[in-house]
Point group: D2
Chain length 481, copies 4
């Protein structure tokens, strides 16, 4: 029944381009990460029995059975994954250590709905160390790392998630998180807005006890702003997505590395001496250009925004129209955020062997549809790599069918995820501890100053939105050298 | 009488730290530019008679005498200076060409008060080409390039300015610009707010005809916001100082070059292999670090803002406390905007030969006062270079007595000034052409969209604040290649 | 019988460290390239029958059966591999086009023994286009790409090679190349010296007709110098290994990219902000340092050679003793060429999570043996990635068990192989066309000037050793833009 | 009489292009260094009396009068110059400290003929500290820093040199160095070969006691090789000019900085966004390209040597023919070592305002003569800066009339001179201590291993040619951090 009730909505949700943004940093759905730790674990799943987790009765070693996951026996393997992740999440570990005495989340009952990965586990265990109780579901039906879920369940967390949930399972899991006897959440941590949505639909009264919502995704934030505009937002919400640190890491710093990684893993191309055109000089474009320039590529930039164009120019990149260089370049990279930047006309004029890929925010920058015509032959030469062959034998090398290269063909470093996770933790702390009336029923960015309760005035850095960075730096650099 | 009336005010004005900001890009007051074109001209002044311009009667070759300058005979030399400047002001020249047919400033009567330099002349002649009438005074008693003023006068501009004005001269010149029979300004272009202030005090009724004020400096903008707050601003004003292009050019791009230039001209130091600590990683610090890193220096950064610290870190600079590296570095550069960053304690611990300089926004980052003690010997070894010698013979090399290195020991490229001048021109066009009511009696940043009148809908780039950049790029790069 | 005769020798050969050098650029043995084109092909092998190629009778589509390979039916797949490789071998393709009219190898009978890969196929087909007849065996029992061998056989080449040859097969294949009725080689192209060795042992009289040997590997060149010293070299030989272009590409340019690629594929580490120590600042170290610096790492260098140390210093890297930074670095990279650079003492002091890898010329730079003690636990977390765990829980991440990271965990771009292949082709042309007496029975580097016969005086660039570079540039850059 | 005897020779000498090389690192003749320490001193000369030093009788404070200089009273000022220089000559100071106990030059009687600058003084005082006696003359009639000569004389050195010697004075000074009663040199340190030449001509018997010659300049080394070829070299000689460290510093590292410095001081041009073509990608071109790229210029390279071209390409610079880009570039820099690289045809096609300068090894790369035609107007706008104006008003900006920019318009860092001076000192030590017969009557590069006597086996770095680098690093970096 639930299934029918929410199916449309879910489908509609899947169509939104922002869905891509939401999923963006999930390592587990990266198709290229087939040799990652997680997939190693996932592989063992295939030898698992096919019984639905909902039909199994499992308990952890302490006899606790308040969870629903694939296989509790994978807990050890999951624990190692978590330990590995901890090493690249210094900010979160520092926060755990620093705030552990004060327990700023004592009494907090957090219900969460995010990707269930090793990185999330580090976040959850941090929240727990700071005093919170947690119940958790997955925000994506494919992205759960089963072994991590097992380790969390073994550690006493009420987790309801597995890889390959059905639509019905998805909502069932969320419901199991919130619909509990004798336990009512007072904080929401959401990624995509499904959990928030569910509570609105099914348990609106719960909001009376809820102190706030922390939301990470573009989509979820968008929903919250709509609710707020419509006067329907009934608790304060924190928009984590638009924090400076997150933006810089997700775009500039992350793409500077993933453009190289994505191209190498798919094509083994040598960068030195190659001519490359990068379409768009926003943060993503800046990262791509800097990396390729450093590797010895000759980089051209197209840009219609004059401020960005000026920056490209002052950074030493020659500004061109795509038109001018399309015949001579070896690699074409789109990161404009616009549609149909690379159209069939340009594809027709590229030279033999030209590599075409997209680093932008959608899969419409390259007009891939225009290549699906009878006179062109498609050849899949590797996972994520297609050769499109013209009648005269010319081939272009299309990566990830025009979808995001860095998500499809690269991995997201744990360090990047660490920034977001730390920001989420701080947002929970802030909302939970804020004095009555500090936050209205509106959407907020992280405030410049943290509340006093947990901060204790000890630090000279009292800008909350800066904490993740500070903590991160502190632990990796200042204190260790 | 006027003299007495305004002296206090002027003095007070001179004390403000923001005065430095206001003067910041004036090439003519740079003490290091003693071999610049302008100074060549200025040199000939010394052989001039000492009669005050106010006491001389001069006419240009067409018989026009509505100006007051040092010596009309220098016009030819000034003309060459202007022609040279034109070559590095592509944006302004492009605007001149592009808008000349439409004459978007037809009917405009602009009274201006800025540094009178070759770059300003290019601006004034552009305004004239676009249809405006101009009367002009200097915003600084020392910064006028006499030969440029002569060329302007010869070209028919009513200029009232010379190098070495007295306080009284200063206000007299401004008054001569506005207090004319049969001519009343309808636009103000100000740099520092003195002109605006004068009209407020003396001719408040003029504001009835004035369509707006364009103000460039930090100080002047500050005054405008105060007027606005007090409800006393009676026309719209444009804040040019805070446009993105100006900020990027004045700080990041300009400092990236001037840190090297300033250090070389004063010390001839070799950058390769030197250990340098840069205090502060804002735009100025980013520019300094990038330049020195590229020259082979080993660069450390101190930073208390965690976001900036994180950026330094991700850009590959080791974050330190000044404390940790002060004994080993060869060069110390401050650009924090704070006071007493380099205090005596640090100066005491520097190694022999360490170079200390300031690129920040004031002259208080290095505690120079603390070095004026009996046990230390000061030796002036070059213009702008002092050796401070400890009893044990250790010397540190202090540049510009802790004032801004890039203003004292380097020059500001015309190209940078070009960006500001173009923005000023666009701001005048916008305010002059804006439909009634578009702008209230408030301070505005440049709007995202230009008014239609002069734009004519021809360009696909209709973001006004982006025009300077666009025009600049267009002419230097896109169209020429 | 042959088997017994040569077994010792082969084994001894395998023990030499230079064997690693010899194999160095073979993509097919890279364990990380499991998703490469070649491995895709190799995968289909597993479904092949297990009959030895020696026991099969195969013919190509023209009825020719003078070859011995795994499966002629894979020819189409192999052809595609070759076509893909052609796109990244512009120098060779340009040489093919340029010299095709002159046929500088008309009459040449080349017997070759190299890795049989798509890149080699492009070389062989180029030699053929220039007029040569070729017979070919593999220089390594594992490195043959069966589908490429099939495409060559289908194209009429006499190839004797398959993946997974036995020792006996290895020598049998070489023998089949040289021991033919009615065909006697007059040129040798060798990689490792096994083919040369075989002819010396079995058919010494053949040298009467042989005009020269072209040898690529460190090992083979070493053998030739020994022969020469002993007065036993009976034909001229060209040492391709030590040409400038090969050295620059194999080391500086290749490592600049493969250090990033190798680290990312194995650890997904984020480079930005990481502290890295690179041991050794030769060409390999220079490449590693430049790449990591560009990605935002903070890089330290250890170096005992003062000239290299000075270069590191002038390039902006802080020189340290390993000792000073070992506790704080996140990544340790060796490329000194020495033994025991990273010893147990250092490993004991590294911080938790430190990544340790080797880019140098042997597998002895990291004292891996010292880690095989009872108190340490080894955990294989991925292919090529081991966690070594101390009793207190500290883990270090050891890559490729201390073997060469770029060979084990990265791929070699075709473009790099292209440089070597072009040099080999030019060396063959030079030796084959040199006038009687130009080359004695000695080992030569490529001469500065090419013989006239094939050059035809058309080019203004007559330095032969520079041809590969010139041709390469010509086709990728000058002519296409 | 002497005057007549040697005049021709001297004149001829002046015509040689290598003269430029010889003078290359003399700061005192840099026309741009008019505000340097030295010139400050020189300025005071103008107020000096005009009596020739040869006609004055001066004594130092200890009563010693065995010298001939401008004015002994300037000694204090000269001492400060020397102390300042010491700070940027760490290698030499380290050598002084290290070898002082052993006195490896005890008994050495060194006659020297070099530029008399602060840097030379540091060298001379080092030689003295190591046990040598020194007598010194100037190798150039203009380059002597009088105040430094005074400080040396005051310190007891027999110096014969002043700024503005006549031809006759020049040889008289040299003669005074060698022609002394009761003192005969056993070592020669020469820069240009004039001293060596003089002894050959006048006192050939002196060579019986001379253990060796150390020569720095291209010219002098050339003369020595000619002598050697002719069988006339009668003592061993060390070629310091071709040591690796000297080459790297004089070219790559020095030009990387001086290209920026030279352009800024002359034109104040902003580098960011400028299009630049660099002709030639040798060490000088590499330095120029790296620096300009880092400042945000868009850099093109022309190169005919394929190896260098390939390096340019792999370093990310677009290879072009000058032809292709001459209309669009803002700056043209030559560093090919060839003649007529930039000919009139190209100059005719440059755009208005294009800056043209030369960093190569002669003044013939730009065909300046072709610009001296009636239709073109020359305008000297600053020292070293000419505007050449075409009939249509187009101007090009020609720097230093096509002579070396870095010598004419920049300064040479003391640090660079330090490398050479240290090498000279080591060469003296080696030749003086070498066992009988180690060096024949030939020209040598610095040997890989130092003789044992002074080395004492204490250092682990026993490669002599590497010492300067090692010592330099040691003192600036390793030991201070």
């Amino acid at each position: 029944m639930k299934k029918i009730q929410f199916a449309d909505q879910k489908q509609e949700f899947n169509k939104r381009p922002s869905k891509i943004g939401r999923r963006s940093l999930s390592r587990s759905i990266s198709q290229s990460s087939t040799d990652s730790y997680s997939s190693a674990a996932s592989y063992t799943d295939s030898s698992d029995d096919e019984t639905s987790p909902r039909d199994k009765q499992q308990k952890n070693s302490k006899g606790n059975g308040d969870f629903c996951i694939k296989n509790i026996k994978q807990a050890d393997f999951g624990r190692r994954e978590i330990e590995i992740a901890e090493q690249e999440m210094p900010a979160l570990m520092a926060l755990r250590k620093r705030a552990q005495g004060e327990k700023p989340l004592a009494g907090a009952k957090v219900v969460g709905c995010t990707h269930i990965t090793a990185q999330t586990a580090v976040l959850m265990e941090t929240l727990s160390a700071l005093g919170a109780q947690c119940r958790w579901a997955a925000c994506n039906i494919y992205s759960t790392q089963n072994e991590v879920a097992a380790a969390l369940a073994e550690g006493g967390f009420s987790v309801f998630a597995w890889k390959g949930e059905s639509e019905d399972d998805f909502w069932w899991c969320i419901d199991r998180c919130v619909n509990v006897e004798g336990w009512q959440p007072n904080m929401i941590l959401d990624d995509g807005g499904d959990l928030t949505h569910w509570i609105y639909k099914k348990y609106p009264n719960m909001f009376k006890k809820i102190k706030g919502i922390v939301e990470e995704s573009v989509t979820g934030v968008h929903r919250l702003y709509q609710l707020s505009k419509a006067g329907k937002l009934c608790v304060p919400a924190m928009n984590v997505n638009d924090s400076v640190t997150k933006q810089k890491f997700d775009n500039l710093y992350c793409c500077r590395e993933s453009i190289l990684d994505g191209l190498k893993r798919t094509t083994d191309v040598m960068f030195g001496g190659k001519q490359v055109v990068v379409c768009g000089y926003g943060e993503v474009g800046k990262g791509c250009c800097a990396a390729l320039k450093a590797m010895g590529s000759i980089v051209y930039v197209t840009e219609i925004d004059p401020i960005c164009a000026l920056q490209a120019c002052m950074d030493g990149f020659r500004l061109v129209k795509l038109n001018e260089v399309i015949r001579q370049v070896d690699i074409v990279i789109t990161c404009t955020g616009n549609k149909n930047v690379v159209v069939r006309e340009y594809l027709d004029r590229m030279k033999n062997g030209c590599i075409v890929c997209n680093m932008g925010h959608s899969n419409t920058e390259i007009d891939v549809a225009s290549l699906r015509t009878p006179e062109l032959t498609w050849e899949r030469v590797r996972s994520q790599v297609d050769h499109v062959i013209w009648p005269d034998g010319k081939r272009i090398v299309l990566l990830a069918e025009g979808r995001l290269l860095n998500l499809s063909c690269s991995t997201v470093p744990t360090f990047v995820l660490s920034i977001t996770a730390t920001t989420q933790a701080l947002a929970l702390i802030e909302l939970y501890n804020a004095p009555e009336g500090r936050y209205k029923q509106d959407v907020y960015l992280l405030p410049k100053k943290m509340g006093k309760r947990w901060r204790g005035g000890k630090s000279r850095c009292d800008s909350m939105s800066m904490w993740p960075a500070y903590i991160c730096l502190h632990s990796t650099h200042i204190s260790q050298s």
